[in-house]
Structure formats: structure tokens, C-alpha cells
């Protein structure tokens, strides 16, 4: 907008308005830069400090007080994330289906929806304490299963929300058409609605999976951590986030372990960012 474009504008007021607008635009651009710069700074730091420690041994050896690798932690994280994803996805898709197909706008459905949305933003540390109280304490020991269940509860509301949203996008006409052909409700939902909503639900699950694979707080009270190789979900289980946490805090006087934490952080962040990007491609 130049001054020629608005010949009627009064000089003083017009200049003040333009000035206010420039300040505002400048502030918006500044805010955007402020918001974006952190990702670059963090990724830069992870690469600079993480890459030097990256070698094959990181994947093939277990964590030791003298350094070692992250093999056991990676295996443990994969197992617990897989358990959490499977469990959370099954329950989440079922609950989301009920909300979209049966509950609809009923009072009960609205309550479930509301509570699911609350759980979506509930602190993950609380979920950890909850699983500690209902699983770890009665069983008497920390376990990989407890970690998996805690992660499942964090994933659950994500899947519920996306399932419901995606089923809501399936046109009502398709359901009616299938119904007119004599299909039963369960057949309509599983064959017609799910196939229309599949891409969206997969995206939601991938995003949720990315989120739980980086969760640390709930694992403190459930899976704990260990230095050993284990694939037994019934005992204390090594995992990447807790290993990073312990190496950066109680073991931070050992330079090799701090190096390992940076390398682990790089691997974890790279995995999560790649999952996020894949999820976006699936959605498209």
C-alpha cells in the first residue's frame, strides 16, 4: 500500500497507521523467527555433539559404567513403544469408533469425548504415577509391561481423537449406500468407513507413536532402566530416554556416558522427526 494508492488519507493519521502496521508486521516476522530458530539450534547442537560418538558399537553393545553402547536401551525402547502402540491403537480405535458411529452427540459420548481431550493434554508424569500405583506396587517390581501400558495410556487419547475425526469425514452417503445393499452395521464400519479413514488413522497412530517413543517421565515409575540386555517384558527394562536422563544427571561426571547421552539424543530426535515427516506424507 503506497501513499499514492490512497490520495484521500490525512497525512498524520495515515503515517501513524502505516507506522503501527509496520511495527506489527515486523513483530510477527520476529515472532516467527523466534519460534523457528530453536529447532535449528537444538538440531545443530545434537548433530555437533552427537555425531562424534556415532559408530556401530553404539548399536551392538550394552550400556556400561565405562561407556559402552546403547544396544540394550534401543531394544527395550522398541519393545515398549511397540507394546504401547499396539495396545493404545486397539483401544483407541475401538473407543473412537464408538464415539463416531454409535455415541454420536449423546450425553455419554460428549462426556467421553471431553475426558479423552483432557487426557490428551494431561501430564505424562501423572500417567507414570498411576501405573506405578496400580501395576508396579501390586506386582512388587518395575517391568517393561508397566512401561508399555503407561505409554499406551498416553497414546490412547491421540488415537481416539483421530479415529473419531476421520470417521466423521466419511460421507454419510457411503454408509447409507452400503446399508441399502443390505450390509450390517459392523460390516459397514469395518469395510466402508475404515477404508475411507485409514490414511488419517495411520497418520494419527504414527504421530502418537513418535510422541510416546520420546516419553521419559512415565518410564521413571514403571520400566525404570537397566544396564543389561533383556527382552523379558516382565522385568526392569532398559530404554533410551531413561538412559539419556541418567547419563545426563546421576552419571554426568563420566564423560563417556555424557557423550553416549548426546548420541542417544540425536538418534531419538532423528527417529521422532522422521516418524513425524512420514506421518505427514501418509496424510497427503
Amino acid at each position: 500500500m503506497t501513499s499514492q494508492a490512497l490520495p484521500v488519507a490525512d497525512g498524520g493519521l495515515y503515517r501513524r497507521r502505516r507506522w503501527a502496521n509496520s511495527v506489527f508486521n515486523f513483530a510477527c516476522v520476529g515472532a516467527t523467527l523466534f519460534g523457528v530458530v530453536w529447532l535449528a539450534l537444538i538440531v545443530f547442537e545434537l548433530i555437533v555433539r552427537g555425531v562424534p560418538g556415532l559408530d556401530l558399537g553404539v548399536f551392538t553393545t550394552r550400556t556400561q559404567m565405562t561407556g559402552g553402547g546403547l544396544g540394550n536401551a534401543i531394544v527395550g525402547s522398541l519393545l515398549m513403544t511397540a507394546a504401547g502402540t499396539v495396545l493404545g491403537t486397539i483401544v483407541g480405535i475401538a473407543a473412537g469408533t464408538w464415539l463416531a458411529e454409535y455415541g454420536r452427540n449423546g450425553r455419554l459420548a460428549n462426556t467421553v469425548r471431553f475426558i479423552s481431550d483432557i487426557l490428551l493434554s494431561a501430564p505424562s508424569i501423572i500417567v507414570g504415577l498411576f501405573i506405578y500405583a496400580i501395576m508396579v506396587r501390586p506386582m512388587g517390581h518395575f517391568s517393561g509391561w508397566a512401561g508399555g501400558v503407561a505409554l499406551a495410556i498416553i497414546l490412547l487419547p491421540v488415537v481416539v481423537r483421530t479415529t473419531e475425526d476421520q470417521l466423521g469425514l466419511v460421507p454419510q452417503n457411503l454408509r447409507e449406500a452400503a446399508s441399502a445393499l443390505g450390509a450390517h452395521r459392523w460390516l459397514i464400519v469395518t469395510k466402508v468407513c475404515y477404508s475411507g479413514a485409514r490414511a488419517g488413522i495411520v497418520t494419527g497412530v504414527l504421530l502418537g507413536c513418535a510422541r510416546i517413543s520420546g516419553e521419559t517421565a512415565p518410564l521413571i515409575f514403571t520400566a525404570l532402566n537397566s544396564n543389561q540386555w533383556t527382552s523379558n517384558m516382565n522385568e526392569v527394562m532398559a530404554n533410551l530416554p531413561m538412559t539419556i536422563y541418567q547419563n545426563m544427571t546421576i552419571n554426568s561426571f563420566i564423560p563417556d556416558l555424557v557423550q553416549l547421552a548426546w548420541t542417544g539424543g540425536l538418534l531419538l530426535t532423528a527417529t521422532i522427526l522422521v516418524l513425524n515427516i512420514i506421518a505427514r506424507f501418509v496424510a497427503r
Binding site: A95, G103, I126, R185
Partner: protein, 311 residues
């Protein structure tokens, strides 16, 4: 249904085989509906189970300390004195600092993305901001303590002599919640009809005037809801805060000094705690959960009101 009834209901031309298929499908329908219903109720039950289990696990602390739990100014496990005041103060103050920084920045980003951004940059910028939300909180924590805290210590030695503290925690929290507030604010800004903003621009309004007098007033509830949602996130954030808040277990009314937060205290002490201390930490968890529940409920109600207005 008696067999006689079935005979009467039998559609024309249906044989026994088809009838069996029909009733099997009918059963499957009910099983399907029942199963999904049970899982939906499981979601509902989770929330109440969390509240109940934490209340039971922390009961002995509430019974011992009563209201003193909230007013004692220190958390000293060695003396069996458990006062939640330093932790509650730290949680509220660090989150407030985060909101003060994150709210204007997020609104700025959202306005830039919806109003000013060149179309080609819009998607990459939005994706970058969203990826920021994907970075795990432990990474923010280690980055905060190894990079940000030393940086602040070097450049502001008078205000932040240690580099860590409530302000540093607030800054890290702000970085973490910017993506959430931005994405919700962006969604609510996009609900403003195109005609509304076009007509405002049409009568000669500047971007600032459109934002200030048209966009923000028409989505006020949504933006406030987005900010409160961010607050809910900040209150419960654990790992990032644990690293940078300083872990001072004595109450000090400070903005820049070291302190602790509910989540940081739990994460720090839980592994080595037992007995009364563990119960006290679980009680503290219940306090945190109730605070976040209230905040998140307020946020959802405001966002829901927005939705209703637009339907």
C-alpha cells in the same frame, strides 16, 4: 424371539441358510457395538481411576499433614517434613513465565502464517513449528542445561548467576508450548470467514487493524482457550524442567532464582524414595493432576463455546 415369531418375520424368499446369516450378522452387530462401547468406557474410567489411585496412594500424607502439606515452606525428606509450597510455587511461576513469553509469540506466528506469509513459505514454516512440538522433552532438558543455561549465565551473570532457575525453566517451557498455542490459534483464526477479513481489507484497514479489531475480537474465546491449553501443558511438563529449574527445595519468592516444581520434585526423588516420602510424592502428583484438570477443563470449555458459536 420365539421360533414362531421368526417364521412370521422371515422375509419373502429367505431360506434357513440366509436366516442363519442374518442372525449371525445381528449378533456380530451387537458384539461390535458392545466391544467398542466397553473400550469407550475404558477411556472414561481411566480418568477416575487416576484420581482414585493417587488419592488412595497419597492418603497417608494428607492424613498426617492436612492443610500443612500446602503451607509448609520446605520439602525435607530427612526430617520427614513434606511441604508442597515450594513445588507449587515453582510450578505456577515457571508456567506463568512461559505463558507471558509464549502467548504473544504464538499469536504473532499464527497471524503471520494466516495473514502475511507468502504461500510458498507457509507450509514449510508451519511444519517446522509443528516439528518443534515433536522434539521430546528430555532433549529440551539436556539442551537447556548444557547449552541454554551456560549461555544465560555468561550473558546475564547478575540476574542468573547459576544459569538455571525458575526463569530458565519458564523460557524452556515457552519454547515447548509455542507450537501447541500456535497450532490451535491458527485453527481458530482460519474459522473467521474469508468475507469478513476481505471486507475489512477492502475498506482500507491495515493488517494490524484487521488483526486487532476484526480477527482477535471474533475468535477471542478460542485464542484464550489455546493459551490456557498451553498453560496446561506447561504445568505438567517434567523432564525439561527437571534439568534447569535448580532443584531448590526451600521456598523462596523469586522469579529468577532457583526453585523446584511439582513434576521435577517427583521425578528427582521418586526412584530413591520409600514409605512416607513416596506417599508424599504421590499426594503431590494428585495435587498436580487436579490443578491441570481444572486448567484443561477451562480451556476445553472455552474452545467448545467457540465451536458452538460457529456451528
Amino acid at each position: 424371539m420365539s421360533s414362531n415369531q421368526t417364521q412370521l418375520d422371515m422375509p419373502l424368499g429367505a431360506d434357513a441358510h440366509r436366516m442363519r446369516a442374518l442372525s449371525r450378522n445381528h449378533r456380530l452387530d451387537q458384539v461390535f457395538k458392545g466391544t467398542t462401547f466397553v473400550f469407550a468406557m475404558l477411556v472414561l474410567a481411566t480418568l477416575f481411576a487416576i484420581l482414585a489411585s493417587l488419592a488412595v496412594a497419597g492418603y497417608s500424607t494428607f492424613a498426617t499433614f492436612g492443610l500443612d502439606f500446602f503451607t509448609l515452606n520446605r520439602w525435607a525428606a530427612n526430617q520427614d517434613v513434606y511441604g508442597a509450597l515450594p513445588a507449587i510455587y515453582g510450578t505456577l511461576v515457571s508456567s506463568a513465565i512461559a505463558i507471558v513469553i509464549a502467548a504473544p509469540v504464538s499469536i504473532g506466528i499464527a497471524v503471520f502464517l494466516t495473514e502475511k506469509c507468502p504461500a510458498r513459505l507457509r507450509q514449510p514454516l508451519a511444519t517446522t513449528v509443528e516439528l518443534l512440538a515433536g522434539v521430546p522433552s528430555i532433549i529440551y532438558g539436556m539442551w537447556g542445561v548444557m547449552v541454554l543455561a551456560p549461555f544465560l549465565q555468561t550473558w546475564f551473570p547478575t540476574i542468573l548467576p547459576a544459569g538455571t532457575g525458575l526463569f530458565t525453566a519458564g523460557l524452556i517451557l515457552a519454547i515447548m508450548i509455542i507450537p501447541f498455542i500456535t497450532s490451535v490459534t491458527r485453527d481458530v483464526l482460519m474459522t473467521v470467514p474469508r468475507e469478513t477479513r476481505e471486507s475489512a481489507y477492502g475498506v482500507g484497514c491495515t493488517t494490524w487493524e484487521v488483526t486487532r479489531y476484526i480477527l482477535l475480537p471474533s475468535v477471542k474465546g478460542g485464542v484464550v482457550g489455546a493459551i490456557i491449553l498451553g498453560l496446561g501443558r506447561a504445568l505438567g511438563e517434567t523432564m525439561a524442567v527437571t534439568f534447569v529449574i535448580g532443584n531448590n527445595l526451600f521456598f523462596a519468592p523469586t522469579l529468577f532464582g532457583q526453585g523446584t516444581s511439582i513434576s521435577a520434585l517427583i521425578a528427582n526423588q521418586f526412584p530413591e524414595a520409600d514409605g512416607a516420602q513416596r506417599s508424599a510424592l504421590l499426594a503431590l502428583g494428585l495435587v498436580l493432576f487436579i490443578i491441570t484438570l481444572l486448567v484443561l477443563t477451562a480451556a476445553r470449555l472455552m474452545l467448545r463455546q467457540m465451536d458452538r458459536k460457529h456451528d
